[in-house]
């Protein structure tokens, strides 16, 4: 029967191809042993956006340190720790937010390096937690009719013990500029998981999460800086 013969031939051809590709894969594993070993170590970094704003902008004081540790060739556990003291001036309200934050998670390298190179184009996930206070420095009462004289109200009401938690997606690059010295840049997309405000006033800025939005849980951020890897071993 020509039909069944055709199917058998196809099956055999498939067997041959599959076998062939398996052979190729095996070959590449063999050649892998000649590959330059990957360095494992703790990479510590400093954010330069915050440093720049601290130096050149009176409204912000803060820093962020980052770290990651390679678990496998492509996966790193990673995290950031930081502090921010930011004064925001809006047309009707001026407030300061002050606090510390911690973000823990991991980065997965989407980029396949050439032999001997160690760069990352990565997607990362973080869980962030922040504890902070918010102070209202001054405000204007909003009225649609300003025929009565009005003034800017100076206050100093501080709401302490505020906290927030969020999930964060990071997309970024880490490029080895010099041996073990890296430059990094990432974009962060965040979503609040919990947001404990004072009850009287919304949390308008959360250290680590950044600006909040009235009707949303989404936040964003950007970070760039330099990092150094303390090499532990090669594999």
């Amino acid at each position: 029967m020509p039909m069944s013969k055709y199917i058998t031939n196809l099956f055999l051809a498939c067997m041959f191809v599959c076998n062939g590709s398996a052979q190729i894969a095996k070959d590449s594993i063999v050649s892998d042993s000649l590959k330059t070993p990957v360095k494992f170590g703790l990479r510590l970094g400093a954010d330069l956006t915050g440093l720049g704003r601290t130096l050149f902008n009176n409204d912000f004081k803060g820093f962020e340190l980052s770290g990651d540790y390679r678990l496998t060739e492509r996966f790193h556990v990673a995290g950031e720790i930081g502090s921010a003291d930011k004064t925001t001036d809006e047309p009707n309200i001026n407030f300061s937010s002050k606090g510390n934050y911690l973000k823990v998670g991991g980065d997965f390298n989407l980029y396949r390096n050439w032999d001997g190179m160690d760069n990352m184009i990565y997607a990362g996930l973080r869980y962030g937690i922040s504890r902070f206070s918010q102070t209202i420095n001054s405000y204007i009462v909003y009225t649609t009719n300003q025929t009565w004289p009005y003034s800017v109200n100076q206050t100093n009401s501080t709401y302490a013990g505020l906290s927030a938690m969020w999930l964060e997606l990071q997309f970024g690059i880490k490029v080895e500029l010099l041996p073990n010295m890296f430059g990094f840049l990432n974009l962060q997309l965040k979503r609040l998981v919990s947001n404990q405000s004072s009850g009287q006033i919304d949390n308008l800025y959360i250290p680590g999460f950044n600006r909040t939005y009235q009707d949303g849980q989404i936040g964003s951020g950007v970070s760039y800086g330099i990092s150094y890897r303390i090499p532990f071993y090669k594999k």
Partner: protein
């Protein structure tokens, strides 16, 4: 890489979409409420009675009057008066039969007192004032057109319901 680009574009548009609304205080947002007065017939207290050719001025601390509803006269049975946000009293002069600056009709001084508390609204709107313990009276003169004043709501936190009834 294609996936990464796509995720990047989606994230960016999500962030951008969020930006608009918070930056301008929307007109529909309830902010500092005005004092709502309704005019009733003194001789038939359950019936509304429009005040004819009404003009209203604010009176500042030194006794000078200033425009408060614009240079118009109204014939209305309901009036919204803005209150100051940083004082605990406000005086108004209500003219009935105000035709022009020559014919100003009959002016009565309407005095209010209240407590204020500033409440947070939003990033864009800032705060609004909440008024409580409202009291109102009409100063007696030789010819009052306002015959009686009644506070029906001592708390002013919206402009849906009237706060004061004026009988004339």
């Amino acid at each position: 890489m294609k996936l990464l680009t796509r995720i990047g574009i989606v994230s960016l548009s999500l962030v951008l979409m969020q930006c608009e609304k918070d930056d301008i205080c929307a007109e529909s947002t309830p902010t500092t409420p005005s004092l709502i007065i309704r005019f009733y017939d003194f001789y038939n207290p359950s019936e509304l009675k429009a005040a004819e050719d009404l003009n209203v001025f604010g009176i500042d601390n030194s006794g000078n009057t200033f425009d408060i509803i614009g240079q118009t006269t109204l014939t209305t049975d309901s009036l919204a008066l803005p209150l100051p946000t940083n004082l605990n009293a406000a005086s108004f002069r209500l003219y009935l039969g105000y035709l022009d600056e020559e014919t100003i009709g009959n002016g009565d001084d309407f005095l209010t007192e209240f407590q204020t508390e500033d409440l947070f609204v939003s990033r864009a709107c800032g705060f609004k004032t909440f008024y409580s313990e409202l009291s109102a009276e009409t100063q007696t003169d030789s010819d009052n057109w306002i015959l009686s004043t009644e506070v029906i709501q001592t708390e002013i936190n919206n402009t849906i319901h009237a706060h004061v009834k004026i009988y004339h």
